[in-house]
Symmetry: C2
């Protein structure tokens, strides 16, 4: 059973999960027999969802065979002593994005991207309703530097018994800003970015993509809905404009830096009264490793300013590192 321990110095949390270490790794072990390719469906636990429902599948959702957290019949209970910890309760699913062993948002057709985001949203809502789940995170790892273990295009959806530190920080900042100004910190950021245009990568009727002012990573890009929306909840809505901007952002990113490793994370409001929050997608490319300075300080060093990064991406220029 995994365990979640609180860091008494940073107030962060660490999940201990021995199941994670057994998972196959294309990047370390050489290409393994791919559990996500058609014909190997028995390598994954029984399917949660498939699209289309009949005939050959195009997209599948399955439980993660090497979960960070596990569902448990018993109630989970936090225990407090000098140290604090709790049972590693949670839900961990994998979304297989395509029957093909390669590709990604940069190559998928628009219809596939729409369907992937629609399923993200459906699974997000379904897991959010489960008992004791406080937060649902949709994320994706591509490439060795981004910590991926399998090459076959896939995303992960995880239901957590705690609200992540990153989201708590964003909630605190946006709450403080809202209390002070009566405005949404994210909406004001969009307004500010549109005023100068320097960091904008792409924009359409409903969405804007930009390299944030304090980008931690080369080519870090955030995608945000232009209307104020707290929760990534899009059931029954049109995903066309979202798919358009995702395809454009990744198309440009992979044109500028072919085969770039990246993490993508959807940040959304937890359940509860967080109307001042604004959901968004963070794309965090991984060109460099973090070093002692970052680990020691919690600060980041970046040698490419977001204004330059956005200029390269917006104009679809090839990136040449000096």
């Amino acid at each position: 059973m995994p365990e979640i321990r609180k860091d008494i110095f940073s107030n962060g949390w660490v999940i201990y999960s021995s199941k994670r270490s057994g998972r196959p790794n294309d990047y370390i072990d050489g290409d393994v027999k791919c559990p996500f390719c058609p014909g190997n469906e028995e390598s994954t636990p029984p399917e949660i969802f498939r699209y289309p429902a009949k005939g050959k599948w195009q997209i599948r959702v399955v439980p993660n065979r090497y979960p960070a957290l596990v569902e448990d019949e018993k109630n989970f209970y936090p225990i407090s002593g000098f140290y604090e910890y709790m049972r590693g309760y949670g839900i961990h699913e994998v979304l297989v994005e395509t029957p093909s062993h390669g590709g990604g948002f940069e190559t998928f057709d628009k219809k596939r991207i729409e369907k992937i985001f629609e399923i993200y949203s459906d699974r997000y809502l379904a897991i959010k309703k489960e008992k004791n789940i406080k937060y649902v995170m949709v994320f994706k790892n591509v490439g060795k530097n981004a910590g991926a273990s399998l090459r076959h295009p896939h995303s992960q959806i995880i239901g957590l018994p705690l609200i992540p530190t990153t989201v708590v920080n964003e909630i605190n900042s946006s709450k403080k800003f809202y209390t002070k100004t009566g405005k949404c910190l994210f909406c004001e950021t969009i307004k500010n970015e549109k005023k100068y245009s320097l960091r904008i990568v792409a924009e359409n009727e409903d969405y804007i993509a930009f390299c944030p002012f304090s980008s931690r990573f080369f080519f870090e890009t955030w995608i945000m809905p232009k209307r104020h929306e707290s929760i990534f909840e899009m059931s029954g809505r049109d995903f066309s404009h979202l798919a358009d901007i995702v395809k454009k952002v990744f198309g440009n990113l992979f044109f500028s830096v072919p085969d770039i490793a990246y993490n993508m994370i959807i940040h959304s409001s937890p359940s509860g009264h967080y109307d001042f929050y604004h959901w968004h997608i963070e794309i965090l490319p991984k060109l460099a490793s973090l070093a002692g300075f970052e680990w020691g300080s919690g600060f980041y060093i970046n040698s490419l300013k977001p204004e330059e990064a956005a200029n390269i991406l917006r104009k679809r220029k090839k990136f040449v590192q000096e």
Copy 2:
């Protein structure tokens, strides 16, 4: 001129320094002409300190040729608009630990380790006195996975115009604990660790080394003075017990996991009234890459519990990953 920008969402800081991108890299470019080997002294900016003062040097301190932050004649000034940023003022030095191109704390003789820590302490105090420096961080990167760029054994000392987020978090937690209990959070942690012994790696009269309860990384190990001391200020003191435990901890770590990449960071109190703080050394090995889960949540996933890690290190067992 580097720039330091505030992240309005996380309240963290990002340093933009284009000078960093030009630095040579043994791991990417193949072995470069080593700027730290004897005979190549002209590759570094003029020396700040050498030991011994006369004859062939054993240890050198030089300004970092590719600094993250730079000294500046002008006053630095924070500017606030919708976004906050400031000039990238700071001091960035390199300590070359040996004339030899290889080795480390796991192979150095005790006298060299004593001298290195003595110079850390001297430079720490000297830089701390500089105008507008709010914090001095001593750190070290070893191996590609830990973000090192040069193989020749070296450490870095950086003077920052801000207190790092990690230290602010530790200050807040230990202040809260002190206010509530009248005790030092770190001293109480030592007491608790000694009670169960499960996570202790090494101990002598003055220092204790253990894998913290909420270790983020495989074999993460902290070294702490057993007496309550807030500041890493050891001028004129005996470094013998510190060198002993450093040599033992790294000796065991490299025996268990040969050639392991790691970051080492000395955490110390900033100038001011932080008597409730307790300086310590954090050794953060890097066996796995962080992935989207960690970037998205700020939580960590670790598949080796600190109790198992400490047992392997304490008993000098070879580590075999499952």
